[in-house]
Subunit: 508 residues, 4 copies
Amino acid sequence: MKTKSIRISTGSVVDFKNQVDFCVGTGRMGLALQKEYQEQLKYVQNAIGFKHIRGHGLFTDDMAIYHNYEDENGNLIDEYNFTYLDLVIDSYVEMGIPPFLELGFMPKHMASGDQTIFYWKGNVTPPKEYIRWNKMIQATLKHFVERYGEEEVLTWPIEVWNEPNLPGFWKDADMEEYFKLFKETFYAIKEVNPKFRVGGPAICGVDDVRWMQCFMEFCSKEKIPLDFVTRHHYTTEFPDHTGHYGYQELSDPDDGFAVLQKSRDIIDSFPEYKGLEMHITEFNTSYIPNNPLHDTNQNAAYIAYLLSKMGDMNESYSYWTFGDIFEEFGVPYTPFHGGFGMVANGSIPKPTFWSFKFFKDLKRGGDEVCVARDRNIVVVKTSDDKYKGVIWNDSRVRNGEALKIDVELPGQGGEYTIVTKLVDEDTCNPLKLWADMGEPHSLSSEQKELLIESAKPLVCSKVVEGDGAKGTVSMSFEVQEHGVMYFEVQKRVFEGDRGYDYKRTMQK
Amino acid sequence: MKTKSIRISTGSVVDFKNQVDFCVGTGRMGLALQKEYQEQLKYVQNAIGFKHIRGHGLFTDDMAIYHNYEDENGNLIDEYNFTYLDLVIDSYVEMGIPPFLELGFMPKHMASGDQTIFYWKGNVTPPKEYIRWNKMIQATLKHFVERYGEEEVLTWPIEVWNEPNLPGFWKDADMEEYFKLFKETFYAIKEVNPKFRVGGPAICGVDDVRWMQCFMEFCSKEKIPLDFVTRHHYTTEFPDHTGHYGYQELSDPDDGFAVLQKSRDIIDSFPEYKGLEMHITEFNTSYIPNNPLHDTNQNAAYIAYLLSKMGDMNESYSYWTFGDIFEEFGVPYTPFHGGFGMVANGSIPKPTFWSFKFFKDLKRGGDEVCVARDRNIVVVKTSDDKYKGVIWNDSRVRNGEALKIDVELPGQGGEYTIVTKLVDEDTCNPLKLWADMGEPHSLSSEQKELLIESAKPLVCSKVVEGDGAKGTVSMSFEVQEHGVMYFEVQKRVFEGDRGYDYKRTMQK
Amino acid sequence: MKTKSIRISTGSVVDFKNQVDFCVGTGRMGLALQKEYQEQLKYVQNAIGFKHIRGHGLFTDDMAIYHNYEDENGNLIDEYNFTYLDLVIDSYVEMGIPPFLELGFMPKHMASGDQTIFYWKGNVTPPKEYIRWNKMIQATLKHFVERYGEEEVLTWPIEVWNEPNLPGFWKDADMEEYFKLFKETFYAIKEVNPKFRVGGPAICGVDDVRWMQCFMEFCSKEKIPLDFVTRHHYTTEFPDHTGHYGYQELSDPDDGFAVLQKSRDIIDSFPEYKGLEMHITEFNTSYIPNNPLHDTNQNAAYIAYLLSKMGDMNESYSYWTFGDIFEEFGVPYTPFHGGFGMVANGSIPKPTFWSFKFFKDLKRGGDEVCVARDRNIVVVKTSDDKYKGVIWNDSRVRNGEALKIDVELPGQGGEYTIVTKLVDEDTCNPLKLWADMGEPHSLSSEQKELLIESAKPLVCSKVVEGDGAKGTVSMSFEVQEHGVMYFEVQKRVFEGDRGYDYKRTMQK
Amino acid sequence: MKTKSIRISTGSVVDFKNQVDFCVGTGRMGLALQKEYQEQLKYVQNAIGFKHIRGHGLFTDDMAIYHNYEDENGNLIDEYNFTYLDLVIDSYVEMGIPPFLELGFMPKHMASGDQTIFYWKGNVTPPKEYIRWNKMIQATLKHFVERYGEEEVLTWPIEVWNEPNLPGFWKDADMEEYFKLFKETFYAIKEVNPKFRVGGPAICGVDDVRWMQCFMEFCSKEKIPLDFVTRHHYTTEFPDHTGHYGYQELSDPDDGFAVLQKSRDIIDSFPEYKGLEMHITEFNTSYIPNNPLHDTNQNAAYIAYLLSKMGDMNESYSYWTFGDIFEEFGVPYTPFHGGFGMVANGSIPKPTFWSFKFFKDLKRGGDEVCVARDRNIVVVKTSDDKYKGVIWNDSRVRNGEALKIDVELPGQGGEYTIVTKLVDEDTCNPLKLWADMGEPHSLSSEQKELLIESAKPLVCSKVVEGDGAKGTVSMSFEVQEHGVMYFEVQKRVFEGDRGYDYKRTMQK
């Protein structure tokens, strides 16, 4: 067993930028029309509550936004149809999760080529005429402003395209062309309203150092008043494919942080951009939607560690994705299939869902101060003297080692109440239950209900005595491998009622 | 540790009359107007689903059914007001839980005296004029028939008064007067429709042998074609009161069964009534709504044993009560206060809720056959070869002893999936959490949510290999003191998907 | 037909204080526990949305707040139970309608006498010991602050008692004793937090001039820094009773306004109180809950006139009451029974409901300016150049005269869209339908649904041409006797779609 | 004004097969995944309640049911994915509207060609290998049986393909190939369970006499034990297109009935098929989803006439379609766009919705007997002596003529209550309101709400006296052109309450 001790003294303050709820990822916009998608999103919003949502395919043809026709004089007339867009964005706004807009992909009628990506065939070629692209962007933003109000819409960050450094996502990964797209789009947006906040280049971890450097140089040279920089972050090696599925080794999370720091440093090396916001607009362990790892407790613990540190170099980080209605590699055959989602289809929360819930719970109330942060634990204190913490025991390769952390908090004499919520392979492991059930494809409603019942943390409590003389209260927490625990500690205020005697009752 | 073995052979059939869901108790009718009451009932119905509900106070003045006035000629005119009655019975019918009607208590304007019972002042005196009582009963039943249809209303059993053998519930516990009330009421009802099913005497365990004997003799002598007999069943000793609360010893459950058998025997001693249905229209451990025992895991395990045996001598048995909106001793000050309810105010399920849920789950599908029953376990088999069981480790006085049961089922080679749901003092004990929190009076919504989260069974699963040679599949279950466990066993049908490898995933 | 013309010129601004939604009345607090009550309130809040709710009986015994007992030393110990209070106030806060607190009536265990009022027996005698009353008020307010936060609770106005000028509501209508109660309570509240806003004397129109004068003199003499003054306002003559019901003549509404102005003048005659807020904490036509008038279109039109003028001399005015769960004269036998509610039991909106809805619709958006107000019409203009108005044709005695109003608004050439919603005896008259049905007591769900369907305004629209030369747009509205109409006028912005031709379609 | 008289005598019985609720049409299955689609369907089911739903595209690729791959030996392996199918069919079953299955179109991986139809590209070519088609049908049906139970699934009728007589829907309208498909499919289904009911040829009105004749001859020759015959029915001439929209003349409805009768006669001319069920699996006025006619009151009145007569020669008739989530000609730009739906997007009921609601209301209770039927009216009588009727004043070309019908029913002396619900161009015409509003594309929530408010029937009532001497009760109804009226007549049973006097109230 690994053991560690954390001693927190009165007044201790530690750096911790907890942006767990700034943004979350989603499959393409068109899927947001689906009822099952909406139910999963509602489930996630009710429990966690993200501020933004970001996904692909805003302008892909299933959203039916862009059409054109030749008029009698042979002029090409642009048309915009916001019927489906309204349904999608209305639902987001209603749930308090407006978009972090990603502008892409290319409508067929506007595209210069026919290269597509994914099962759902997103066109990834540059526009035939930039002027029509710009007009479409402007029409869309104006429509948003008219429908949702300027005040609201100006809070929606805007990112230009997705992963142009990959030839699958942007024809030939043509850097010059991307820079053109970026500049055109940037100024088209600012023409609508200069207060819109616009960023890029939304690159992932392939040739990323060169891309980041070149992008910043381009912006600098062109004197573009960039509002923020974006990139992605995945932490697995190349997959080994078997049948439909891919299996990958987890990489060292600290190597990942170094990569992010490198991007940070490039930005800061430009005096005019020093300190500019960097948003991680996608992150996860594996970058493929068919790695069973996503559904495991191991994933939950690994992600918990990321959540404790990603705010160090980034303004925000958006988990890819909130749910499993997601068609990039086709429609999944089974409820658990290694999808990116925090919840499986049927709104079954996966262990990783709870890592997000626990980190969000640290900041409910909004008055917390971090008092301790470490490789396996973070502790905050609220203005009414409650301590809340998360502990994780992540490991890249299973070794069976449990983790015990002794925590000493500032305290007084008298009783303290400790409540813990535990998610580990024994208490909250729907993937195992589903596997034990025989890996059924179509869940009956009873099976779905059972899986949901099994996917809840175990809640426990105890009462400990503070040490008035030392001014401390001590406790210890044990978490097995791949486990994540949330805890709260506060002074027990005994209310009681006339003659109510709990101990007498429990002696029997 | 207590250990036992259960061996179930192919084709074994065991007697087990599981009437867990026939009826449930409730505080007085007027409380059914309350929103919180309705929410608790909905919670219970969604999860368990009872067929009938029975409570006091149908004719108590807060239901405002009966009024009268003198007309200009000095005649007393009867009036009936069904405004509130409709609200209550509509809500029951809508939730699929029509009443097991208890006719009582006496409207003030019809009463011969002013003796009342309870905080809510139910008048317990005989009618001034039986003719007006009879007319009111008939008017009410006719109204039911008109509103809900004859077919529906004829399925509602009717019981005359409540516990007339107690002077608190029936003035002077006057037996002659009760027999008069019974006979008058019986024939008044049959006049409306002879197919109504009517019974009594609804006695509890005080002087009950004599009352039962006399009641049956009375009916026999008067040739009353009684439809069923009713009585109550509580299994605690006299309370020791401290402040507002009462503490009691649990009595031996088997002594209780003997008492019930005695009533059964009295009935059967009358040739014309032999085999007549006996309904336990109230049962619980303690008979006071302020014994903390009701909220414990001990109660859940003790009740589980009762649920396994009460069908042996009774047609049905109605737990007193489904929820904690209940004012007999006043309005409770705290969410946990030893009330009768399966759920505490706020729809927090108590451990005993799960005993009912588990016994109800044994009969979902409706095709089950009991294959084993024992002091601590009952096992049924469904038509598609699934085994379902409940295990309980009840004890009257805490001794710390766990229970291990080895179960051998008929089986084949190949894998079996075992799913268990465990409710014990460590996994599902909201009372302890509330006590650890300091026994707060007013729960914040966060506290309520936390208590509900803590009040769920722990769901686990495993896969075992059947022994093809012996034609068996073996497993063992362990339940700590005061614990209740539900389990299901079935052949694991492996579906799988192209290349999906659960084991490979879990090796990491 | 009465006809009038209203000409509104550009930039015209007219006084109109529209406080239609500041507060609404309700039966006693204990009824707020009921599900049907909550459903009616939800219906009203969803459609109209009031800011506060005010009712009697906060401390009446069905709320079970105050108890006491003698301890072993013979000291009387006070106890407070907030179980039901939390249910009620939670529901209000959740629906965005926190209380305008009325402190009353007297808990039995605190009362100096046993005089009660109403079917539900509110005790109306002074406290035996003011110290215990004060402590109870303080305990209650402190509990509110703890549960809902200081910021929220300080916005809840507090009124001391109800109609002490009536001997039914306050023993002997004892003025000295009321002033004592007021002063004690005032300072008890300010001790908890001086920012609480406290007022009285909550008198109705009996001997009201003398009471108002004396109350102000008392406050002045005692230098009480009163936060606001309250009184009630009813506008019918004495009832003629037949059976259970009372019939009354409507009084001249302008006489009523004069009465209110008199109170206003008394207040303003005290230099230190000049301009102090005056709240009408109850108003309606009839002051009895069994006058069929309340359910008529006549009531709706009469109230519409009041809504157009009561802001002239009052800070607010609270319609008595939002719904018909109300037991002052007993539980009603029938859905329509002349109750105070805007909605009948079953959430059937009465015509008066729509008067409130229409006046509230005038202020949605919150940016309106009144541009015309007259005996029968009020018109406002929003910042985006939409005109909205309400027209009413009230009459105290039916004369069959319709009203036609020609309206000329500032305008341009081009089309304008006019939408009207009409509530009159032909289009929206559920009372008539219910009477035509035979005045049934118990509504089937089909009957309830039909009544609700019948209780909606008739929505119509038309397009008119503005007169560009004159800079006007003209229209005329016709409203029959007892009718109320809402209208909106705005420039028609034609969007159209490729080849869509409405006129061609409608030629067939 | 047209006038007519209907005299109904005691005991009169008239033929009327009211199958208004047997089935309703829907856009392709994949759209059923959408939330907006589900909300519209829920709205329609709550109000009307259909027994079946029929739409295209069960096997189109967005449902993702069929895939295949080559294994290592070069064998093509079939795979079925029921993830989306379960979501769709679960939702139907949950709402009580299981499918009338239409088997089509062709999955890309199974298709012999690449011809597609519609914006959503349904492949309309025969299967490459019939054996794989048959296997897919069987796998799908077996999955249904496993998931929903045999008893349920056997009630779902099955139709083979859609409109094979059109080359757009079936490559080359190849009759021989369709007969092959039919026979293959028929026997594949019967192999799963011979109790499945299977029919065709689902033709529409192009060359339909020849197709029907040949199909019946083919079945007869091949001795196929056909379970039912299907065809479609549209009643407009060829469209005149302007921009995106098509405008058509309505054809004479009686000509349409003659066409249906011709099909009926062909079937009956085969002795072995005489009397075989004929289902109209699609009907409407216009057959294009962009004719504004669909949204008018004219459509409602015309359809009402069809509903009164289609049961004469058909077993059922399925309106095409329930809602406007429908992409055949692309995604609509505007809420009203001449789509097929009974409700517009946003669940705004169109006038035609009410024709269905009114005809359904004739059969609620299920005990009605038709007592009169005529070109403009149908009247039924229930077992409790209530009369219910629908009146319509349809016209193909606007002539402004109102319709007055005098109705004489068997009756007694005493009062009768008449309730009417009226849908005409003045009372319930959301299309006009939308046009008056300027034909907005994106509706704000206020605009949507207003349109819904405007789209309700006007409910009125009156009381008439029966003529005891003549044994009749008389009344007359007036309906303007394109109007539809529902009415109910029943004896007024007066209940009243103590002193309640409606007339006295209304004199004021």
